[in-house]
């Protein structure tokens, strides 16, 4: 009896969720429908879903989970790809496949952290700049110009080196070079939005600036931000790998793709699989996010709609 009651209650709460969010559900279904018609973005989604599965179930998928951490097998050093070690082994005899699978975890996390931090800083700043105009706008936009005028990788290297090279600092360093792009996108959106009557009505209602920014301006400028963010996850992974490659990111024995390439480079061309497999992993990941980003742009850009 109790069970049935619980089930009924759950069903009715599901129904009321359907009612109250009918519009969002419809929108979501429309987006999925549009994405389904574009094979390339489907491929992107497929790649990303595969990577997410790899990341989540890494301990079960990797043939030698310990190899991603502190296990070493000096007797199996630098084996070429073969049965049992499909991608070969590295200079400590660790299974490359296992390390790459665990590297997926790290890379996705990095991508999401960097993009998340950049969005959280850049989007509100852009909305505030666009809404207030005047001196505050000038200050915010000139600061973003300063950041944008540096070659971003050089700036990230400098910051990472100054903070002390480790993975967390590399994430922070790249986020610091990244937020200005979001500030610019959102400011542009806000400039056109703030002339909209619904913003003026909100001002007439004495809605606070903060609420105007977070309830009106940001939700209405999210479409281009979503596209940019999905592209950026891929680039953030690439850049963090680059920082690790030059020794300003992850430290051994962390299974990080960029670091694996950096060490594997020393064993080229004889142990070609060492640098090649993490390189391919990075390439496929970045490609996946790029395809998704392009697909989302087509779906979310109203000018291209229907």
């Amino acid at each position: 009896m109790r069970l049935i009651e619980v089930l009924i209650r759950r069903r009715s709460s599901l129904n009321s969720f359907r009612d109250t969010h009918a519009h969002q559900l419809r929108e979501l279904r429309f987006i999925l429908h549009q994405l389904r018609r574009s094979p390339l973005s489907l491929a992107g989604i497929g790649i990303i879903l595969t990577l997410v599965c790899l990341a989540v179930f890494a301990p079960y998928i990797a043939p030698y989970p310990g190899d991603a951490f502190y296990d070493m097998h000096p007797d199996k050093k630098l084996l070429a790809p073969q049965k049992g070690h499909w991608l070969g082994t590295d200079d400590f005899g660790r299974d490359m496949l296992s390390r790459i699978v665990f590297g997926t975890r790290l890379s996705l996390m990095i991508g999401i952290y960097v993009t998340g931090l950049a969005v959280m800083v850049g989007v509100p700043l852009g909305a505030i700049a666009g809404l207030s105009g005047g001196r505050l706008d000038e200050v915010i936009m000139r600061v973003t110009d300063i950041f944008l005028s540096f070659p971003p990788l050089v700036l990230a290297m400098a910051i990472s080196a100054a903070l002390g090279p480790n993975l967390i600092n590399a994430i922070i360093a790249i986020s610091v070079t990244w937020w200005p792009w979001y500030t610019r996108i959102v400011r542009g959106q806000t400039l056109s939005l703030r002339e909209q009557p619904f913003i003026e009505v909100a001002r007439a209602l004495a809605v606070s600036k903060r609420r105007i920014v977070f309830r009106h301006l940001i939700p209405n400028s999210l479409a281009p931000v979503t596209v940019q963010a999905s592209l950026d996850v891929g680039y953030a992974i690439l850049w963090t790998a680059a920082l690790s490659f030059v020794g300003l990111g992850a430290k051994p024995p962390v299974a990080e793709w960029g670091l694996m390439i950096a060490i594997g480079r020393r064993y080229l061309p004889d142990s070609w699989w060492y640098a090649t497999s993490p390189g391919l992993a990075i390439m496929i990941t970045v490609l996946g996010f790029n395809l998704l980003g392009d697909g989302l742009r087509d779906v979310l850009d109203p000018r291209l709609r229907r």
């Binding site: 009612d19 009505v201 909100a202 209602l205 309830r215």
Partner: protein, 325 residues
Amino acid sequence: MSHNLPTLLQVNNLVKDFPIREGVFRRVAGSLRAVDRVTFSIDEGETLGLVGESGCGKTTVGRAILRLVEPTAGLVIFSGDDLLSLSPREMDERRTNMQVVMQDPISSLDPRMSIKDIVAEPFVAHGRLKGQALRDRVAALLEMVGMAPQHLWRYPHELSGGQRQRINIARAIALSPRFLVLDEPTSALDVSVQAQILNLLADLQRDMKLTYLFISHDLSVIKHVSHRIAIMYLGRVVEIGPVDEVYDNPAHPYTQTLLAAIPAIDLDRKRKRFLISGEMPSALTPPPGCHFHTRCPLVQETCRRVEPAKATIGKEHSASCHLLR
């Protein structure tokens, strides 16, 4: 209209200049006077119709009163408060008493918010109501404007034009204001829907004792809703008076031409027929003297040089024209 009601809003010599910026450095090169010493008052419970061609500054008057644009000069007294001398925070406290309904019903509604969130916003923004009480109040407001509760979870783009304007009205009256600026609230709507919205506004005015500033270019709508009307031309009020007086006995040549232009099935009309040609001059280079002299059929030499003073025609009825001296 009885005349013993207290004045709710007094506008004296309201001026709004928009700077004109030029060149790379956005230097202020001049200014555009959108509103030129506009003076009028509105009594409690009254509707003042503000009429004029597009571009004459009538919308700017409404926005300047609410300080959605900051007036350049003048005096706005609302219920005893000098609005223009208030700090933004003090002004925000008074905003609950004065609201606006804009011309375009769809762009006045945030496309990402449900109807419930839109109508609830005034309460949430002022931290007035929460939870069930808020939901009840929103449902009650929807009912007041003639909408069913099932619209609560809809989004603006799912409604018709008339329904959208009802939502705009519901939001405007949410905090029980005393004064509404209605900026062409019906001009984007079909004629049949216009009538419904006008009736709704009339009902609300009666029930909630609202005072309206009704801005429109549609003379037949204005005649229907207003107690008194003010005619604007190129930033200035050229004539103001009780609606019947002005319609029966227009004093200013511009008012006469406007009224003559109302399409009407009136085979033996007695009105003098004036026709004016040309466009309203640019507000960037307003003509000297009387602004209307470039198009006035009765233009005289003085009109080109001297700005006409206000002449009293009847009780509460005045116009600015040299011919009335």
